[in-house]
Amino acid sequence: MNIPMAVQCSGISKRYPHFQLQNVDLAFEQGAVMGLVGPNGAGKSTILRIVMGLIAADSGSVNVLGYPMPSNQIAAKRNIGFIAEDMRLYESETIAFHMEFIKSIFDSWDGDYAANLLRRFDLNKEQKVKGLSHGQRVKTTLMLALARRPRLLAFDEPTTGLDPAVRKEVLDEMMNSMEDETHSILFSSHNTLDVEQISDYITFIYGGRIIESQNKEDFLDGWRRLRLVSAQNRDLPQLSNISDIHRSGKLCAVTVKNYEDSLPEKFTDAGFVVNDIERLTLEEIFLSNVQLAKNEAKKELVL
């Protein structure tokens, strides 16, 4: 069975005076949620904009819902709902005005769903945009995007600046919109908790490059922290998958990547007692990955 792809980018590059996106491969099937994670300025928004056809890549190919981008972007955009932080609503107009406006452009507009979302989001459609809080603005743009029933929702930083209650409302409705195998979400965030909760796939971006892109379960399964004790102050075995070592006296905490069940034995063979094996949160993996990428970048500078 061939599952159709939601997004398929291969080898995309884009050069700016002070930043470049290098050789980015990104792909996930329809019916899935892809979370882009990375520090500020890593290139998350640029990737989203290229996927949306708002920016043309210098090289590489981009396919969204089967449409080549940006050449076929008009057809593709009918099926994509895009939300970015810098998206402006008309300040002196009401929410209802915006609903009518979007409805007049997109024939896929679902009025019942829009009314439902308004109620669930506790929004008053007669209210003018200039009186809305940040949370209400985010919910309004999400409602406007979702009521079009897009097959792909592309959301740049959905939860930035939201209080926990609104954050939950936004994430809940994003998940509710994934009702069947034909809807997909691509979103970026530096809130690793959000990404960990709703993503099927996770892509780590750092300095314009993709560090890792995998399904979330494999991602989280691959990392462990081992707590070791060495009574004789032995040296740690040289293993290529050790990403971080914290040692104080006889105690040692080692973070490893590509963990396998056979690994603890390698430490016991080297004279260590393995006291505990812990899983890592996505946030810890994120920080480890950033540290690794920084070290790599330094090495390159030296060479």
């Binding site: 994934m178 009702e179 069947d180 099927d200 899983r279």
Partner: protein, 122 residues
């Protein structure tokens, strides 16, 4: 459908294991007797706001343990030849393991722990 799965944010176990626990608990207390159909992976994911891939993993592990049966890529249901008593025993073992760990971290000697257990078993 409201399944009322409640998850603890302070639970350090991976989410798929917490989902497995919620399902096995419903089975072991008899709320979901053998042959009960389970919600589809996508339904459950939307209900508990957790990614599809995590729910899929929970179902796969439950299938491997023989707790549920799945028809390839489609419906799942509670295994009709499931030994509920065995499942309950496994749950008890998990509780005991937890108790043992806690006692260790509180520096309670094994003898004292046994005494406590004895008191509660009478």
């Amino acid at each position: 459908m409201n399944l009322n799965f409640v998850f603890s944010k302070t639970d350090k176990r991976p989410m798929y294991q917490q989902i497995m626990e919620q399902i096995t608990q419903r089975i072991s207390v008899g709320d979901w007797p053998p042959n009960t159909p389970l919600p589809s992976i996508r339904q459950l994911a939307a209900e508990i706001k957790v990614s599809v891939i995590t729910v899929k993993r929970a179902y796969l592990e439950l299938e491997r343990e023989g707790v549920i049966v799945s028809q390839q890529g489609k419906a799942s249901w509670v295994n009709d030849s499931l030994d509920v008593a065995k499942l309950q025993r496994e749950e008890l073992m998990q509780h005991l393991e937890q108790a043992g760990k806690l006692a260790k971290s509180l520096a309670i000697p094994v003898d004292e722990l046994m005494q406590m257990l004895k008191k509660h078993s009478e």
